[in-house]
Point group: C2
Chain length 422, copies 2
């Protein structure tokens, strides 16, 4: 199968960050050529008036929680979790997780995301199955925790490893190892989990320092701040991805940077849950960390829109430092594409020969995208999901002219399931 | 001309804030009935699977500045204004203002805005003409300032009054009186401007306390904080609308509230320009002010999207007060609709019998709008411009099934003009 995308404005995200006018040749699941291409292909997409960008990499979400969008709104955080989300999660069925994943996938595709990183504990095979079914790329774990009643480190690890082995030979889905958070996992589990990830050459993903409370709980128990603690037990390296990471000291940012670890900042969710503070993306970036962006789940966002997340991430830095020209639009776009790819270990995130063909076409001639004074500023500050026209993942067209196969059926099924469920 | 909207989920914004399943009958430019309607009309819109909301009222923008979207990005505020925006504005032609307004109008319509409040100084007749041409509703002034070289209070006032008289008999456009800001206008001009507004029964619109610097400049010169000063010269009453109003004391919020004046908070622009601080919407609302929302111009936003502005406004309050359940989604939606209508003095902002027919239909069955646990939360936190299907203003369909008449021509014309211009 080969596809030729003709006459696009291509935001390559290559080494030189070139923006080219030209064509993209896709052969199989890879980009075979970028530039002027004259070649017979199975299909041709006329991209005149369109902009081709590498699809967004959303590095932290809980995709199946899309079924909880808007559930338990207007409650303080503690009541929201205890009275609404956790009781609801305890009753979640495999079917709800499967269809919730498909729903979240449709929303991601419509907003230009082609690759995501999940974290969930139950029915994770359903998440992986649904993701492959719709044709999205993802890094998926069977996440673990053992510091709550009825949980056992050994059993957690066994299930996580079995999941990883089951999904290790797939194309779109890759497994990773994930421990929920420093305050929900024993030191023993954390150490063994990371050892397992290293042994299997898998990425490691966890929450850290989302709220101020957990920072002080860890400090009290371990006499170290969270990243100092995690570093002391060997968890902070270039194969680790830490979500949130907002309540940190400059010394901790230095630890993350020096070890070239990745962080996934989720600004929309952090503000919605009022976790306080602003994640210091600027300092993480300056000190060598790989900065990436995530939406978190739709239960706390309440969308999965990476355009919104880019703009929010950028604006919060300007606000926090009282500096309008901090972090360029190019930097923010890097966080959402090429840096995300690096964090998850996929060969995507840019439009270059030899990269996986994960490409999004945007309407350039939409009123919110005109004029063209600054293409990157338009992408980061002006674009929204209404501009997404076509989405190609792994060389396959998953959205064509704003149409996704079976989307209507997915929506009806989720509506039916959530009627039964609540 | 009559239109029947059948089988919609209607977010009425009536006194009881009811959400109904039913029909909306439009006769001429008014809503004639809401509920179950069986009546022959000139046209029928099948709104099954759609949600009808009152169109957003964007209470502060500079619509023609849409031609500057993304222009001079990445510069500190002072350089951006001095080296880019002001020199560019000095050269703006009537034609650029006219087509820039049409472009901004298309973007507003596509993002569900049916009514806006502008502030601009040059070629304001072109703004009014273009607004009426495309069928948007607006409050438009010929704004004034006299504290810069070459400006004269008398001439300013004369032109502002003549503009108001020219546009006072129109349907979609209503004039208002606007003075730019306390630091750009003499006390004499401010007093006379407000007297003129009172005499003609017009709304009064100005910037105030956008940056910390201007607050301290006024404090130094007038020995009063901006709202204390404005109140002492009779400018703060229920017919006044103050944009930004972010750098204020609680005492000033009390003055605004007691006098039932309106504020237009523009959170996206404030963050983008790094003005610092968070506008205390919660306190303004509690102390009796009429809180409304604006996008500001696309030069500093860089979009005109009220969905984004609602979400940003809400999330910044949660963040600022470390309180996830501060200000309900309903309150935020009120700010963006019914409160905006009150501030501008239009009989719109809700879907009720006798109101002006300014209605937006959204696709309910889009992946980012499902499930329906909480309709208001979905509107404020999950919806985006891709959900806007049809827009009716003043009883006339201005966007039908995502199509706006002449939009392609408007976009091409702006591209051509901005090519010449830069």
């Amino acid at each position: 199968m080969s596809i030729l995308i003709k006459n696009a404005t291509i935001v390559t995200q290559n080494e030189k960050r070139e923006i080219l006018e030209g064509d993209i040749l896709i052969q199989g699941n890879e980009i075979a050529e970028v530039g002027k291409v004259d070649e017979k292909t199975d299909s041709v997409i006329d991209a005149s008036g369109k902009m081709a960008i590498p699809g967004f990499v959303n590095t932290h979400t809980h995709i199946s929680m899309t079924v909880f969008r808007g559930y338990g709104e207007g409650l303080p955080l503690h009541d929201w979790l205890n009275k609404k989300i956790w009781p609801a999660e305890a009753k979640l069925t495999a079917e709800e997780v499967y269809w919730g994943t498909l729903l979240g996938a449709c929303e991601m595709i419509r907003s230009g995301t082609t690759c995501y990183s999940d974290m969930y504990i139950v029915h994770t095979d359903e998440i992986a199955k649904a993701t492959e079914k719709i044709g999205l790329r993802a890094l998926i774990p069977r996440a673990m925790f053992d510091l709550l009643p009825g949980r056992d480190a050994k059993k957690e690890l066994k299930e996580a490893v079995e999941f990883a082995e089951r999904w290790n030979k797939h194309h779109l889905v890759k497994p990773c190892i994930s421990a929920h958070a420093p305050f929900t996992c024993s030191e023993e589990l954390l150490v063994k989990a990371k050892e397992e990830a290293n042994r299997k050459n898998l990425k490691f993903h966890m929450h850290v320092s989302e709220t101020r409370k957990e920072v002080f709980d860890i400090l009290k128990e371990k006499k170290k701040r969270p990243f100092e603690y995690l570093n002391s037990i060997g968890l902070v390296d270039e194969h680790s991805l830490f979500a949130h990471a907002g309540w940190v000291t400059k010394r901790e940012i230095g630890i993350v940077g020096k070890n070239k670890a990745s962080i996934s900042s989720c600004p929309v969710s952090n503000l919605k849950l009022a976790t306080g503070g602003i994640c210091q993306l600027t300092e993480y970036d300056e000190l060598g960390a790989n900065v990436t962006l995530g939406t978190d789940g739709a239960a706390s966002n309440n969308s999965l829109d990476m355009f919104e997340t880019m703009k929010m991430a950028s604006l919060l830095q300007k606000h926090h430092y009282w500096k309008a020209n901090i972090l360029s639009a190019q930097k923010i776009f890097d966080f959402a594409t090429i840096n995300g790819a690096k964090a998850l270990g996929f060969n995507n995130g840019s439009i270059e020969k030899g990269k996986l063909a994960d490409i999004v076409l945007l309407d350039k001639n939409a009123p919110n995208m005109v004029p063209f004074h600054d293409v990157l500023a338009n992408l980061v500050y002006s674009a929204n999901p209404s501009n997404v026209a076509d989405v190609i993942i792994n060389g396959k067209i998953v959205m064509e002219n704003k149409k996704i196969e079976n989307e209507g059926k997915i929506i009806e099924k989720v509506k039916e399931l959530t009627r039964n469920y609540l």
